[in-house]
Symmetry: C2
Subunit: 369 residues, 2 copies
């Protein structure tokens, strides 16, 4: 397995990642505490899709003492938002609703430009605004959501990033991010720009604001340097909550990725495209209908079952019913695929409508610095 901010491949051993990265399990008591404070449970927590954290217990301590925390997540602009991208964003929306948390969403058009040979900056920025529509479509509260466009909001970001950059040597950046002497001088500094929103709520509100970062665990290296530096700047260390990866439609290894469009469902896909992609998806069922009925299938590796589990069947009773039925052979691969297709098509029909509506009121969501 390989898990870095740039590559996720192989069969992921999440236990090993927790050990290697030095993060913590979301234990049952912590889970219960979170549910109690939220006033309800969330299936992504119950199902251990969010499975690891840093300082989540500390964050909840603060919350219980009346300190509002802020959420921070983000994206490197590129065309092709897929449903795997939406997973942590949907969870962020739940946190925003239940904990009344401000969300800072960083659209890193600068990195999009610096990291990609043939990308022009205006195009990266344009795509950033386009990607913002997918975020807004998920229903975030405009009064509690600030989308940061790096090149537009650079003024507050730069002042914070300078503080981080001064305390980060090129050696450290090399070790953590794998840079070398042929790396352009923009990327090592950019890591400080990505750290800046961890401290932006505190900077803007002129008081120390705890921050929670919901993200794939592959992004964790970014926050290690930031967490080391935070106390030196008088800020809280950002807390994090990590999700496992939504696998690609081609099977249980790696994660859904825009670079494999044939096995990736984009938010802009038509019903026809969704249907076609799911029909071809990796099956955990028997080789023949007869064999499936006799021996059953394996929902833990079946792509359609997994997608229902990760995102599209939040009802715990129903998902148990589906998994049990699939395992026994009572429910066929075709039936699970049909179920999933209907769910995703219904979701995307609504999402695409909201995405277009978002164009009209995107201004309400942009950070005014």
């Amino acid at each position: 397995m390989k898990v870095t901010p740039w590559e996720v491949s192989g069969r992921i051993d999440y236990e090993k990642l927790i050990k290697e990265f030095g993060t913590s399990h979301i234990t049952q008591p912590l889970l219960k505490r979170m549910e109690k404070l939220a006033g309800e449970s969330h299936f992504m927590l119950e199902r251990k899709i969010f499975f690891s954290h840093r300082d989540l217990d500390w964050l909840l301590d603060r919350y219980e003492r009346g300190e509002q925390f802020a959420l921070y997540t983000g994206r490197k602009p590129s065309l092709g938002i897929h449903i795997g991208h939406l997973l942590p964003w949907m969870f962020s929306k739940w946190i925003q609703d239940k904990f009344d948390a401000d969300l800072y969403f960083q659209m890193v058009d600068d990195e999009g430009f610096l990291a990609k040979e043939d990308m022009e900056l205006p195009e990266s920025t344009r795509v950033g605004y386009e990607n913002a529509l997918d975020v807004i479509a998920l229903g975030f509260d405009p009064d509690k959501t600030s989308i940061i466009i790096d090149t537009e909001n650079i003024k507050p970001l730069y002042k914070i990033a300078l503080q981080v950059a001064k305390r980060t040597t090129f050696s450290t950046a090399k070790a953590v991010f794998g840079f070398d002497n042929s790396t352009n001088v923009g990327l090592p500094f950019y890591t400080s720009i990505q750290a800046a929103p961890c401290f932006l709520p505190s900077y803007l509100k002129k008081m120390n604001v705890p921050v929670l970062i919901p993200a794939g665990i592959d992004q964790d290296p970014y926050w290690r340097i930031t967490r080391d530096i935070a106390p030196k700047l008088g800020y809280y260390k950002p807390a994090a909550i990590h999700n496992t990866f939504l696998p690609g439609l081609e099977g249980p290894e790696g994660k859904m990725s825009s670079s494999k469009p044939e096995t990736t469902i984009f938010t802009t896909d038509s019903a026809e495209q969704v249907k076609k992609k799911i029909q071809r998806a990796f099956s955990g069922g028997g080789a023949t209908m007869k064999e499936h009925k006799e021996k059953g299938g394996n929902p833990d590796i079946d792509a359609a079952c997994q997608y229902l589990y990760y995102m599209f069947e939040p009802d715990n009773d129903k998902i148990k019913e589906i998994f049990d039925g699939y395992r026994s052979g009572a429910i066929s691969t075709g039936e699970v695929k049909d179920m999933l297709t209907k769910k995703i098509v219904a979701f995307l029909t609504e999402h695409q409508k909201k995405r277009e509506q978002a164009r009209k009121h995107i201004d309400k969501f942009l950070l005014k610095d």
Copy 2:
């Protein structure tokens, strides 16, 4: 001798610098051409205080064809502006007046912070505004002068700097600026921020604007990378005009430096301080009054003679008279020192008044981006 953007020491061989840096002499025909276009001569050109250039001939070609050029110079904020700092700024003012050129003056509060262990960012910015008063006091035209405070005007600078940074590897930054792995990740990127004003006039005016940088030749490495990159971005290469260094009061080696306050005249010095410092200055005269009268002195190494030559006696006839008299022994070291003291005290009295007045109208000079 050592000449880098961070250190100037030893006896400077300017011919060697021209060869090593690959710049060009300001030849007599070029000098005459410049004087003709300016409508008058300037003693700093006639005396070869500005002695070297890059593409000055090209810039004048453009000017003759009706293309307005802009001036760009700047400063790393620190308390202690000395008269050596004023030299290229005074020359810039002359260029502004005679060639109707916009001046962009970059106050690099970000570098001031990144490069100095115990410097805080707000302090660096504050000192930047303080230093701006010395610039304004020289009489620049508020309608044609934009003082850039990096952290305030970062929005346009950042977009341009990203373009430069993407095309600058860490290897190149290492080779040109002497960075190593222990350098913080801010400084290599900062070199792109310092390059940005070369292209800012073009960026703001949405047309290609030639730029001339008047600066000490020690700053030349900064513009080498910028000049290499300019054509890739579709911009003109910045042209440059280089001055020799005003020596310290302690003698003809190195240059006047704030780190040697005893032999440096600051713009905030009192008449008493100026007098005291000049009295102690390095003398090119005879060991005794008698010897001086008999054998004469050497004005080329006498600090007071040099200061008159570099800045405070623009009249060519008068400076010749002084040098001849000093060389013959007719004018004593004490007399030259008195002359210089009077000139500098008169200049600083006026400068300090204008400097305080500048506080009230600094806003007129700040870049509105």
